[in-house]
Symmetry: C2
Subunit: 355 residues, 2 copies
DNA sequence: CTGTTAGCGCCTTCAA
DNA sequence: TTGAAGGCGCTAACAG
């Protein structure tokens, strides 16, 4: 089984009767190639089925045709291991792979542990090995200056998903404040006045934004935010369970809960039954994320849907274009979110929730 | 923002006071390096934070440190687009990425359309661009000779997930026949005698295996397979809906259904309500795959769980080891499946299902 | 407009 | 046990 020699640019050059460089120019859509020569070269490429080697292009030239995405290791592995899946990764692949493929790029994933003291070493190792043309950061890395500084020092362009903070890199995000406001308004419009909020992990930059959206929606109706209705959370199922257990035992329990993640919303949902609360009869529930499971839950959850695929596609595009043009415009890109009303929200029962 | 020059093997050599070649030997665990020199070099590597460039290694040497996985384009995109997620990809990432990382490898995904007449060109293009050290094939590609022949011609080693057919490449699979038998026996043990089977897509090699397992389990109890209980399917939700609509209208409808995919099982489940059938009261349902959603469905589904992560990890290991040792042992690797009993199965109601 | 000349960073082969 | 020379396939910078 002798490996048949791969065909290289040299073969194409010979076939077309031109120099290597001319072939290279055609491949890279370089200027200064006659129509005729160009077609001759293209014919040779097609005939031989030539595809340039990524490794060689990277070594010789200044581009690697690689986009590298860093995701947080722990939650990602946890999602896979528990077989709950991983909507972020799925949607990033969907948006990113396709966009990269359009431009002859590949997207690679790398997991790094945001809590490790080796974080920077991990990131640098991946950069050194791969030399990507651009990097996509996800929360909570998007706002981690250890990483952004490192990328900047390496002269890399990068996109920060889910972050709208100032700083290096493209910020590609949705309006978390507006999303939380929208969800809260939906509950207010249904007639709820006692609305609780189970917050996201404080490490994540969007958490205060969402809280602001929640608060502003309530205050805009002349109501006040009940401090006891603000429950801490860390995005996990258990946090949702715990939160509802606290909330339901208040003297005046809420009639609706907004949770900052699907997991927490499901925790709330599943904690409701044992507490004698029906959803949405006694309690309306709204979640953030709209991962696959919330459509299968009973009742299906009303949810904010993040545009993860679109953000990733935009990020990939910005990086590829930016690399090609050598520009460093660190602008902001705000993408619209969706709000999907399902069965978990309804008007409050007259007289409020029963304990 | 001048890109700081990357540190190369040259810097390490200078730092350690040895030649390039010696550093290369240390990196690659080559023979003939004194203990002392080795430690000196390692110290230099750590000090400088040196990580070899994948592209350069691939170009100079014979390895690319890349494993390439081909998935079928249409179902994969469909899963992402519908936001149902994609358990196969998730579990492949889980098993494959981690195993690859252990060995300094990366895993890349490529989508190719099994129904395209460009299939071979798509595959060849990816191979030419990436020059992977090994390839992982998933159903239905695992049994597609257009692809396996192409890989063989390219002198590549590869693993075929979910295939136990003879031929080139490592076959890494679970025993689909035994799994179907196990699921069927579970229903028989509960007392069911009228069991239907919604089959998988005939293009997939495991489909006849599963049918055999189903049939043999029934016949082993001295029962006969009712031809009308064998419904065609293609793994989709709609196929499950259609199948139950046919089955429920038979003169003697089944009391249990085994479906060859989660999607189809969910289709069956959701078609049951409108037909006045309760699950598991009137109808027991067992599914194949155990993707995340079937645990959130109501009732949660009893299911066969494929060891996708384990298969991918095994495949990656075989490829990496095989590449290192230059061997071409095309053996078989049978991995165990799980069977998870949940709420969708129960003894048949006395007197059988009501129409 | 096209061709020539150097490398990119590493591994392979050979010599010492 | 170590080092030096060559080249992998491509692109950048320069000639022509």
């Amino acid at each position: 089984m002798q490996k048949k020699r791969a065909i290289t640019i040299k073969d194409v050059a010979a076939e077309a009767g031109v120099s290597l460089q001319t072939v290279s120019r055609v491949i890279n859509k370089g200027p200064n190639v006659t129509q005729g020569v160009q077609e001759r070269v293209k014919a040779a490429i097609d005939k031989l089925g030539y595809v340039p080697s990524l490794a060689a292009r990277r070594l010789g030239g200044s581009r690697s045709y690689l986009v590298l995405a860093f995701n947080d290791e722990r939650p990602t592995l946890e999602g896979w291991q528990s077989r709950r899946g991983n909507d972020w990764v799925d949607q990033m692949l969907y948006g990113g792979m396709l966009k990269c493929a359009e431009h002859g790029y590949r997207m690679l994933f790398e997991l790094v542990d945001s809590h490790s003291d080796q974080l920077e070493a991990q990131v640098q190792a991946a950069l050194s090995a791969l030399h990507p043309d651009g990097v996509i950061l996800t929360p909570p890395h998007s706002d981690d200056t250890r990483i952004t500084d490192l990328l900047h020092r390496n002269g890399l362009i990068f996109a920060r998903l889910g972050s709208h903070r100032e700083g290096e890199g493209f910020a590609v995000y949705m309006d978390d404040e507006a999303a939380a406001r929208r969800a809260t308004e939906h509950l207010l419009d249904l007639g709820h006045t006692r609305i609780a909020y189970v917050q996201g992990h404080p490490e994540y930059a969007m958490s205060p934004d969402r809280l602001r959206g929640f608060t502003s929606a309530i205050e805009a109706r002349g109501l006040e935010v009940e401090p006891a209705y603000l429950q801490p959370g860390d995005f996990t199922y258990e946090a949702g369970v715990d939160a509802l257990n606290v909330l339901a035992r208040l003297d005046v329990p809420p009639t609706a809960v907004l949770a900052s993640s699907d997991e927490m919303a499901l925790g709330v949902l599943h904690a409701a039954g044992p507490l004698g609360l029906s959803v949405p009869g006694d309690l309306s529930v709204v979640s953030f994320d709209d991962t696959p499971t919330v459509r299968m839950s009973v009742p299906a959850l009303t949810a904010i849907r993040q545009p993860i695929a679109a953000m990733t596609a935009r990020a990939a595009e910005l990086l590829i274009q930016g690399k090609a043009r050598g520009e460093v415009a660190n602008d902001h890109h705000l993408l619209p979110f969706d709000f999907v009303v399902r069965e978990s929200t309804a008007p409050p029962r007259a007289g409020g929730a029963r304990r």
